[in-house]
């Protein structure tokens, strides 16, 4: 199997993600919505983290910032020693769009609650997509995408479009797509939110497997028994870190 090989594998002490005072404010004209209010967080390689919290507390916003999809309105974010952005009042330092796209492409694998697969496009082609944008040759793309589909047990469904797959199968395609680039971290925002408990267990066993192979995993969930898979549980409340507990044993 060829799952991720993070740059600094093992229980390294060097954090690969450092968030300092990360704040996100949505300016809605007459009112301002504080989605994140000064988040400080350090995440090291090969951690297995779950983020919990009530609806609207800012979990997805935090994931999007970590995943370089969104930029904070204040605070500092470093990813693998590189400064992604530093917003201090009017002083803004941030990577440009293409650099962010590069990080998303090579370093981060996303798994979304709604799968986010391209419709009318085969599973294989969906899994190939990140490799297309990484400039990998056609032949190698196809080989690696098939490998990834094999890992999630869908090699025989490579030519099926998402509409021909079950919810669980779709999410497995999404996981294959997330790991095909061998990213340093996998971000999963409620990956089991749309699935029944049996399928959820299946998906979580893939997550555990990926973690045991050295991947860093951050997952957002509402369910306590899903959160139990992680070794570190962070509770978010109203845009702030309410608690950060380590040591909970994995299943």
């Amino acid at each position: 199997m060829s799952a991720g090989q993070p740059a600094s594998a093992g229980n390294g002490q060097d954090p690969i993600i450092i968030l300092t005072g990360v704040t996100k404010v949505y300016d809605m004209g007459k009112e301002q919505i504080h989605a994140l209010r000064g988040i400080d967080l350090k995440i090291s390689a090969n951690e297995y983290i779950s983020i919990m919290g009530p609806s609207g507390s800012g979990k997805s916003t935090l994931m999007n910032v970590i995943g370089c999809l969104d930029t904070p309105t204040a605070g500092r974010y470093e990813f693998e020693g590189e400064l992604v952005c530093d917003v201090d009042g009017d002083k803004i330092t941030r990577m440009d769009d293409d650099d962010l796209a590069g990080i998303r492409n090579r370093k981060i694998g996303f798994v979304f609650q709604t799968f986010n697969l391209l419709a009318r496009t085969s599973a294989l082609r969906n899994v190939e997509l990140p490799l297309v944008y990484a400039g990998v040759s056609r032949k190698e793309r196809s080989v690696r995408a098939r490998e990834a589909l094999e890992i999630v047990g869908l090699a025989d469904r490579a030519d099926h479009a998402p509409s021909e797959l079950s919810g669980g199968q779709r999410q497995r395609v999404a996981i294959a797509r997330a790991l095909v680039t061998k990213p340093s971290i996998i971000l999963a925002d409620e990956p089991t939110g749309n699935l029944d408990s049996t399928t959820s267990r299946e998906i979580m066993s893939f997550m555990d497997e990926l973690h045991s192979q050295g991947n860093t995993i951050i997952l957002v969930t509402h369910e306590a028994d899903i959160a139990k898979h992680a070794h570190r549980v962070i509770h978010i409340l109203d845009g702030q870190v309410a608690s950060d507990e380590r040591g909970a044993a994995a299943a």
Binding site: G102, R104, L117
Partner: protein
């Protein structure tokens, strides 16, 4: 690049009918330009063939210029007519000139026994005319200077006249009547074909002097055809002729010419002007339909970008750079446009071939135009695809993902 083409192809395939409608605008534009240009191209070829009949080394001295504005034409009508004596006047003085002949024209009726032909071109000329116009006699002989000097009632007829009146029998030696006067046929001219839609073989040549005597000399204006000694000397001959004609007309220095010297090239100039206008019209219509087609492409691309916002979000979340998204949509709009060109070009070629084979018009589409058309349309696709593609490329990934 191949990857981008593949993405564009499958995106278009997903909306086949819409893609087809989009290409239609461009296809119609290209079709219009194609057909008009094919006809002009065809006209050019046949026109070049036809005016070569006139001879590039022949000058025509006339009261008025062939092609000019209406005012100038009315003005020229008030000028004195040129008389037959000008022929002698010119040939006695001109040095750069080898042959001179009058050319008097009117339409008339020919009769042989019970058969009659109307609307035949009657030409009053001298013996030199056969050389000036480069005509061969296939039967009998052409007019001689004896015929003209003695105002003999003889005629040389065109091939079409012989066909109609004598139906394959010998024409030479037969007597026919022209406008009621008796003439003896002494020769038949070689077949000329048509020029600008007119049959050049519906003609009867008679001596100019006989013409004037029999059909009247009052109000009669004469054109004089002059052949330069060699094609290189045409311009010298023209200058010389102008001087001779000014003396003939007794013009003082500074007085305007009351005659004109026409030549093949003035016909060419007129033709160029006329087809130039056709070109402008074709380019006008074509550009308008291309712009309309282009705006159609832009409209559809804007709709497509909006519809596929979520898809763009997915691509961006997976690491697609701005340029990748930009090219994806640019290539899509160029492919749609190019398909339009192809369809329009094929339709125009088919129509051109149809016109060529089924109508008297000539039409031709040089294959190089396809390259030109595709070039033009790649540019059209680029211009009209640029805004929608830029819009797509600039989308914020997180907002695009939230769009449903």
């Amino acid at each position: 690049m191949i990857e981008t083409l593949r993405i564009a192809g499958s995106a278009l395939w997903a909306h086949k009918f819409r893609a087809f409608l989009t290409t239609l605008g461009i296809a119609i534009g290209i079709f219009t330009i194609g057909v008009v240009m094919a006809i002009i191209e065809g006209l050019n070829t046949s026109f070049a063939d036809q005016i070569s009949h006139l001879g590039s080394d022949v000058l025509y001295v006339d009261k008025r210029a062939w092609f000019q504005g209406r005012d100038a034409w009315i003005n020229a009508r008030q000028r004195k007519n040129i008389g037959l004596d000008a022929v002698e006047y010119i040939s006695a003085r001109a040095q750069y000139v080898s042959h001179v002949s009058p050319r008097i024209f009117q339409r008339g009726q020919l009769k042989f026994r019970e058969k009659s032909l109307d609307g035949i071109a009657l030409m009053g000329v001298h013996a030199d005319m056969a050389i000036i116009q480069g005509q061969e006699v296939v039967e009998g002989r052409f007019l001689s200077s004896l015929d003209t000097d003695h105002r003999r009632p003889v005629t040389v007829i065109g091939e079409a006249v012989r066909e109609s009146l004598f139906e394959g029998q010998d024409a030479v030696g037969k007597r026919l009547t022209i406008n009621g006067r008796k003439f003896l046929v002494i020769g038949v001219l070689e077949k000329q074909g048509t020029m600008l839609g007119r049959n050049l073989d519906n003609v009867a040549y008679v001596p100019a002097e006989t013409f004037l005597k029999m059909f009247g000399r009052r109000w009669r204006n004469i054109t004089i055809a002059v052949k330069a000694s060699s094609p290189e000397l045409v311009n010298d001959a023209k200058d010389e002729l102008e001087g001779i004609m000014r003396r003939y007309r007794k013009l003082r220095p500074g007085q305007e010419n009351d005659f004109a010297i026409n030549q093949q090239s003035s016909l060419q100039e007129f033709y160029d002007k006329a087809t130039g206008m056709l070109w402008m019209v074709a380019i006008g219509i074509g550009s308008i339909s291309l712009i309309v087609g282009g705006v159609g492409v832009m409209n559809i691309m804007l709709v497509t970008v909006t519809e596929r916002t979520f898809e763009i979000g997915i691509r961006k979340s997976l690491g697609a750079r701005r340029s990748a998204i930009l090219w994806q949509f640019l290539v899509e709009s160029m492919v749609v446009s190019a398909l339009g060109v192809l369809v329009g070009f094929v339709a125009a070629s088919g129509t051109a071939i149809f016109i060529q084979n089924n109508t008297p018009l000539a039409a031709r589409i040089p294959p190089t135009w396809l390259g030109l058309g595709i070039g033009v349309v790649v540019i059209v696709g680029l211009i009209f695809g640029l805004w929608p593609a830029t819009k797509a490329a600039r989308l914020d990934p997180i907002e695009a993902l939230r769009y449903e």
